[in-house]
C-alpha cells in the first residue's frame, strides 16, 4: 500500500523535494560559500546574479544562504512541534478513549475549554510568556496543535473499541492489554500519521506568522518567516528579497500537504477496499 503510494509521481516529486530541502538545509555551508549572517554592506541589496544567486538583503547578506538556513530553522521548529503534538495528542487521546468514565469526561472538558480559545491567542501568549526563541516557539506550537489531535485520536479509539473485530478478539480470549496494544492502538496509526503530515505545514505557517508579527525567531537568526517579514519592508524596490522566501515557504507547505493527502488517501482506500478506487 505504501509502495503503491510511492508510485504516484506527484508524491514522489514532493518526497524528493522535501528530501532535497532537508539535505541542503542540514548541509548548509558545505554547499554554499556564504555564511547566512555575514554582512557585506558594500554588496547590500544587489539583485540575483552570478556572485549571489538570489541576491542579497539590506545588510549585504547572501539571500540563498539565509533561505537555506531559514529552511533549517523552519523545519526544526515544525519537526519538534509535530513531535510534541503527536506524542501528547496520542497519549491524551488514547487514554481518554480507552479509559472512558471520569478520566474521559475530565480530559474532554479540558479539551473543550482549550477548543474555545483561538489557538493563535494561546501561541502568542505562550511565546510572550516564554520569551521569543526557537525552542519556545515549538513548545508553544506543540502545546496548541495537540488539542485537535487528541480529539481525533479519542474519537478513533472509541470507534475502534466498538467494532466487531475487538469483540471477536475479546471472545477469543485476548486480555485487555493485548487488545489495546495489538488491536486498538495500531489501528489509530493511520489517523496519527495523517495528522502528523498535516501538522508540519501548519507549524511552518504558524512559525512564519509569528516571525512576521515579530514574535518569532530573533535576529540575526533567520527563519522563513523572518525573511518574508524583512522582504516585505522593501517589497516595492527589491521584490526578490520577498519573493524567494515566499516561494520556498509555499513549495515546502505544498509538498507536505500533498504528502498528507496521499497518506490519508492510501489509508482510507485500504480500509474500504476496492470500491474507493473508481
Amino acid at each position: 500500500m505504501l509502495i503503491k503510494t510511492l508510485k504516484n509521481r506527484l508524491v514522489c516529486a514532493c518526497l524528493i523535494l522535501i528530501g532535497l530541502y532537508a539535505v541542503v538545509s542540514v548541509g548548509g555551508t558545505i554547499f554554499f560559500q556564504y555564511e547566512p549572517n555575514t554582512q557585506d554592506l558594500l554588496q547590500a541589496n544587489t539583485g540575483p546574479g552570478v556572485a549571489h544567486w538570489l541576491g542579497t538583503d539590506y545588510l549585504g547578506r547572501d539571500l540563498l544562504a539565509r533561505i537555506v538556513y531559514g529552511i533549517r530553522i523552519s523545519l526544526t521548529i515544525a519537526f519538534f512541534a509535530t513531535l510534541i503534538n503527536i506524542t501528547v495528542g496520542f497519549l491524551v487521546g488514547s487514554v481518554s478513549g480507552l479509559l472512558g468514565g471520569i478520566v474521559d469526561r475530565l480530559l474532554v472538558g479540558v479539551l473543550d475549554i482549550f477548543w474555545c480559545v483561538p489557538p493563535f491567542l494561546i501561541v502568542v501568549m505562550l511565546t510572550v510568556a516564554l520569551e521569543p526563541g526557537i525552542k519556545n516557539i515549538f513548545i508553544a506550537l506543540g502545546l496548541v496543535l495537540w488539542i485537535p489531535t487528541a480529539r481525533m485520536i479519542r474519537g478513533e479509539v472509541r470507534v475502534i473499541r466498538n467494532s466487531p473485530f475487538i469483540k471477536f478478539a475479546r471472545l477469543n480470549g485476548a486480555g485487555s492489554f493485548k487488545i489495546m496494544a495489538r488491536h486498538i492502538l495500531p489501528n489509530c496509526i493511520p489517523v496519527l500519521l495523517t495528522t502528523a503530515a498535516f501538522s508540519i505545514p501548519d507549524a511552518i505557517m504558524a512559525e512564519a506568522f509569528l516571525s512576521i508579527v515579530g514574535l518569532g525567531v530573533q535576529a540575526p537568526n533567520a527563519s522563513l518567516g523572518v525573511l518574508i517579514s524583512d522582504g516585505l519592508q522593501s517589497f516595492r524596490i527589491y521584490p526578490w528579497q520577498w519573493f524567494f522566501p515566499v516561494l520556498t515557504l509555499t513549495m515546502l507547505v505544498l509538498c507536505f500537504n500533498i504528502l498528507g493527502d496521499a497518506l490519508h488517501e492510501a489509508y482510507s482506500s485500504k480500509a474500504k477496499g476496492l470500491l474507493e478506487h473508481d
Binding site: 466487531p164 473485530f165 471477536f168 478478539a169 477469543n172 480470549g173 486480555g175 493485548k178 495489538r182 489501528n187
Partner: protein, 320 residues
C-alpha cells in the same frame, strides 16, 4: 454441557424495566446442536452473549447458566470467564470480514489466538495455524497467512474464524448467524466444516440461524424465539413438520410452502415494540388463531409431546 435455566435479561430505560429476554431455558449435551431461530431483534444474539459472559456487568440479569463445569457463568469473575473463552468456548461471528483486525496479517492474528488458547509458543503457533487452515479447506495456507483480511472474501474470512474457534479444541461452539452474510456456496461450505468439526471434537453447538434448511440438517433441537420469549422448543423433526405455536407455523409454512395465500397471511398486524408493555401474548397482534384469553395474560411454556410451547391454545397440554 450447557444448562441454561430461566435466563432473563432486562434493561432499565427511563425508570421502566424493559425485558429483552424472558425465562429462556435449555440444555445441551456434548455433540448436540441447538438451533435458535426467530426474527431479527428477537434476542437470539443476546442468548449467545449471555453464554459468553458478555452480559455479566448488566444489572437486569436473572437465572443461571452452567457451561463446561462453570456452575454459574452469570456470577463468574473476569478470570474465570476469560479462562472459559480460551479453553472451552469457540465463537463464530456473524460478520467475518469485520471481525478480523484490518491492520494485522492473518498469521499474526491466528498466532495470537492460538497462543492464548493452547499455550503454544509463537513459532509453533504458526505451524499449527497452517495446519488449521488446511483443516478448514485452504490448499495454500502459507499464502493465506501472509494476507490481510481485506484481501480475502467473506467466506474465506469465515473459514479462518472457524479455524480460530476450533483452535482450542472447544467443548462448546457458539455460532451467531455464521452464514448470514455469505453466498450460498460459502454458506454450505461453512456449515459442512462446522458439521465435520463437530464430529471430530464432539462439541455442543448453539447455532443461531435464519437458514431453516441448515437448521433442519444440523440441529437436534430447535428453539423458536419471538420478541425475547421462548415460544416453542422441541425436537427438530417434530417441530418443523408439526409446529404448534402460530408463529412457528407461519415460519415453517413459509419455508415449506410459499404460496400466495400463505404469504399474505404472514404480514398480519405489526410485531410489538420491546418497550410497550402489553399484558398478554407478545404475538397477539399478528396471530391468526388468537382467542380472547390471549390479550389478558401472557402464556407460559408448557410441556407438550416431546417439546414445549407457550401459547394459550395448548394450555391444557392438549392440541385442540
Amino acid at each position: 454441557m450447557i444448562d441454561v435455566a430461566d435466563l432473563s435479561v432486562s434493561i432499565r430505560k427511563d425508570k421502566a424495566v424493559i425485558p429483552l429476554l424472558k425465562n429462556v431455558s435449555f440444555r445441551l449435551g456434548p455433540g448436540e446442536t441447538l438451533g435458535i431461530i426467530g426474527e431479527s431483534g428477537s434476542g437470539k444474539s443476546l442468548v449467545t452473549y449471555a453464554l459468553l459472559g458478555l452480559l455479566n456487568h448488566t444489572a437486569g440479569l436473572e437465572g443461571s447458566i452452567a457451561v463446561c463445569g462453570c456452575c454459574n457463568l452469570l456470577k463468574a469473575g473476569r478470570k474465570e470467564i476469560s479462562q472459559l473463552r480460551r479453553q472451552k468456548i469457540g465463537y463464530i461471528p456473524q460478520n467475518p470480514q469485520g471481525s478480523l483486525t484490518p491492520t494485522r496479517k492473518i498469521k499474526a492474528q491466528m498466532q495470537e489466538v492460538i497462543a492464548v488458547k493452547t499455550g503454544l509458543r509463537w513459532k509453533e503457533a504458526a505451524n499449527y495455524a497452517a495446519e488449521l487452515l488446511v483443516k478448514v479447506g485452504f490448499s495454500e495456507p502459507g499464502r493465506i497467512l501472509r494476507m490481510f483480511p481485506h484481501q480475502l472474501s467473506g467466506g474465506m474470512c469465515q473459514r479462518i474464524a472457524v479455524a480460530m474457534a476450533i483452535a482450542g479444541k472447544p467443548e462448546v461452539v457458539l455460532a451467531d448467524e455464521p452464514t448470514s452474510s455469505l453466498d450460498l456456496l460459502s454458506k454450505t461450505e461453512i456449515m459442512t466444516l462446522l458439521g465435520k468439526a463437530q464430529k471430530e471434537y464432539n462439541f455442543a453447538m448453539v447455532l443461531v440461524t435464519h437458514d431453516l434448511g441448515f437448521a433442519l440438517k444440523y440441529c437436534n433441537t430447535l428453539a423458536v424465539l419471538y420478541s425475547g420469549r421462548l415460544v416453542e422448543m422441541g425436537d427438530t423433526g417434530e417441530l418443523c413438520f408439526y409446529p404448534r405455536h402460530p408463529y412457528s407455523k407461519s415460519l415453517f409454512g413459509c419455508f415449506f410452502n410459499e404460496t400466495q395465500e400463505r404469504q399474505s397471511a404472514l404480514f398480519h398486524g405489526e410485531p410489538p415494540v420491546f418497550n410497550n408493555r402489553v399484558p398478554g401474548c407478545r404475538y397477539f397482534a399478528c396471530c391468526r388463531e388468537r382467542i380472547t384469553a390471549c390479550e389478558v395474560q401472557e402464556p407460559v411454556l408448557v410441556r407438550i409431546g416431546t417439546g414445549q410451547v407457550a401459547c394459550w391454545l395448548y394450555d391444557g397440554g392438549e392440541n385442540r
